[in-house]
């Protein structure tokens, strides 16, 4: 039996998402180049979809989705594109601008002293002890930037950046793990509102280091697809600003 025939026989199992490991990767790889198998897979996928009855859309489900896409899920950070408001028939601010505005609003709250806390980095922290110890030392260095990512008043991570560009992100126990196909991603917000990727933290972040030698007005944490993105496509989890 040829490789094609072997993989073709696995398509019913692939359509049910019941393959794992090498077989899964082999079928996925094969589907990139085999139109015959792609067509056959479409047949089996149609079968699986018929095993699911139609039901009324979940109550409040749309609000969650609208909120997610309305908070910049589709628009890359820092990219200003004009979007026409269908209700008003006029251009409205891009979601990138909206996102930056949202970040600024959160920052304003933080500056107002409602949320931001600067405290010992050893408080409630999890992760690699060597990085945490280095982060604590960095936090006490002259001119260091220290901020919290706060959600509902609780810190989910702390960020430290020394004057000479050594950065640390230290998650707390309150940082929820994500699905395997998602990741947290750090973003640096510069004083001229440029939003630049600081790096990928993974779906279950550990204490991490980064380097940044430019100016900084704040940091943001977003949820993205695994592997990270160059421009944000996910939702903002929290914004940190300097205490």
């Amino acid at each position: 039996m040829t490789n094609h025939n072997l993989l073709h026989e696995l398509l019913p199992l692939y359509a049910l998402d019941s393959l794992e490991g090498d077989e899964l990767h082999a079928v996925r790889s094969h589907l990139h180049s085999c139109d015959t198998c792609l067509r056959e897979l479409a047949r089996y996928s149609a079968v699986t979809s018929k095993l699911v009855p139609d039901e009324p859309a979940p109550t409040h489900g749309w609000e969650r989705i609208a909120s997610a896409i309305g908070n910049g899920a589709d628009i890359p950070l820092g990219r200003a594109s004009e979007v026409i408001d269908l209700e008003e028939g006029r251009p409205r601010a891009s979601r990138a601008v909206t996102l930056l505005t949202a970040m600024a609003a959160v920052a304003a709250l933080v500056f107002a002293g409602i949320a931001l806390a600067q405290r010992s980095l050893l408080n409630d922290l999890t992760g690699d002890s060597a990085v945490i110890a280095a982060a604590e030392q960095a936090a006490s260095s002259p001119g260091a930037y220290v901020g919290d990512f706060l959600v509902d008043g609780s810190s989910i991570a702390q960020v430290v950046l020394t004057e000479d560009g050594h950065g640390f992100v230290v998650p707390t126990e309150d940082l929820e793990p994500l699905m395997p196909q998602r990741t947290y991603q750090l973003w640096v917000i510069t004083s001229d509102e440029q939003v630049i990727s600081g790096g990928v933290l993974g779906n279950e972040p550990r204490a991490s280091t980064f380097t940044w030698t430019g100016d900084v007005s704040g940091f943001a944490l977003t949820r993205e697809v695994a592997g990270g993105v160059v421009i944000s496509e996910g939702d903002v989890v929290a914004v940190a600003t300097e205490a």
Binding site: K50, L51, P53, G61, A130, V200, S208, G228
Partner: protein, 210 residues
């Protein structure tokens, strides 16, 4: 422009820069004459009303399959959100020539639900609050009753072993290896049953509208 690098939790590891995610182009927009393709095109044009219409039409089925696999309302709601937001972000992955939008969205939702089921995090959360078996007996009955008659008939025509293996794989999110363990059958036997059952269903249901 300056760049930042984030390293792993250990000193000395090589830092990796973020990079764009390239997803398989298996689904690409084409055949723009179908209603599904038009809706996808409107979503691609950032039309929230089109996405809301899709949610109203298919959101129930998407939630149903996620809930059936995950048996956890909160996780199922996450899958629903991820499915529609994911489609909003990348509508070009849908190819109207390869199936309905309903099939596409359900495929995405099921895959995400299975990923969660197979993750340690979800396993722990599900163990914290195991599903009520009586509730799911009733839910299974309602589920079957709500299927189109043609689908119910097609399922009835399967051998018991085929139906059981397909049901465990699809609705419990189990790999065929896990199904084999669950049933105490050789992996090859389960593989064959799933294959033959799916082929029968495909033959019975080809042409039936989803």
């Amino acid at each position: 422009m300056q760049s930042a690098r984030l390293q792993s939790g250990h000193y000395g590891n090589v830092a990796y820069l973020t990079s764009p995610v390239h997803v398989s182009a298996a689904w690409s927009m084409s055949d723009s004459n179908t209603p599904d393709a038009l809706l996808a095109e409107r979503v691609a044009n950032r039309d929230q009303f089109a996405l809301e219409a899709l949610f109203e039409q298919y959101g129930g089925a998407v939630k149903a399959v996620a809930l059936r696999v995950l048996r956890n309302e909160a996780l199922a709601d996450d899958v629903v959100q991820d499915t529609f937001v994911g489609f909003w972000n990348a509508p070009e992955k849908y190819d109207a020539g390869r199936g309905s939008l309903r099939t596409f969205l359900l495929t995405i939702a099921h895959r995400r639900a299975v990923d969660i089921v197979r993750s340690e995090v979800a396993r722990a959360r599900r163990e914290e609050k195991p599903p009520d078996p009586d509730h799911y007996d009733v839910a299974d009955e309602v589920w079957t009753r709500n299927l189109a008659e043609q689908v119910r008939n097609a399922l009835d025509e399967l051998a018991e072993g085929e139906r059981e293996a397909i049901s465990l794989a699809y609705f419990s999110g189990l790999s065929y290896v896990e199904v084999a363990k669950r049933l105490g059958e050789p992996e090859g036997t389960v593989k064959s049953r799933i294959r033959s059952g799916m082929k029968k269903l495909a033959a019975s249901l080809s042409g039936a509208t989803a």
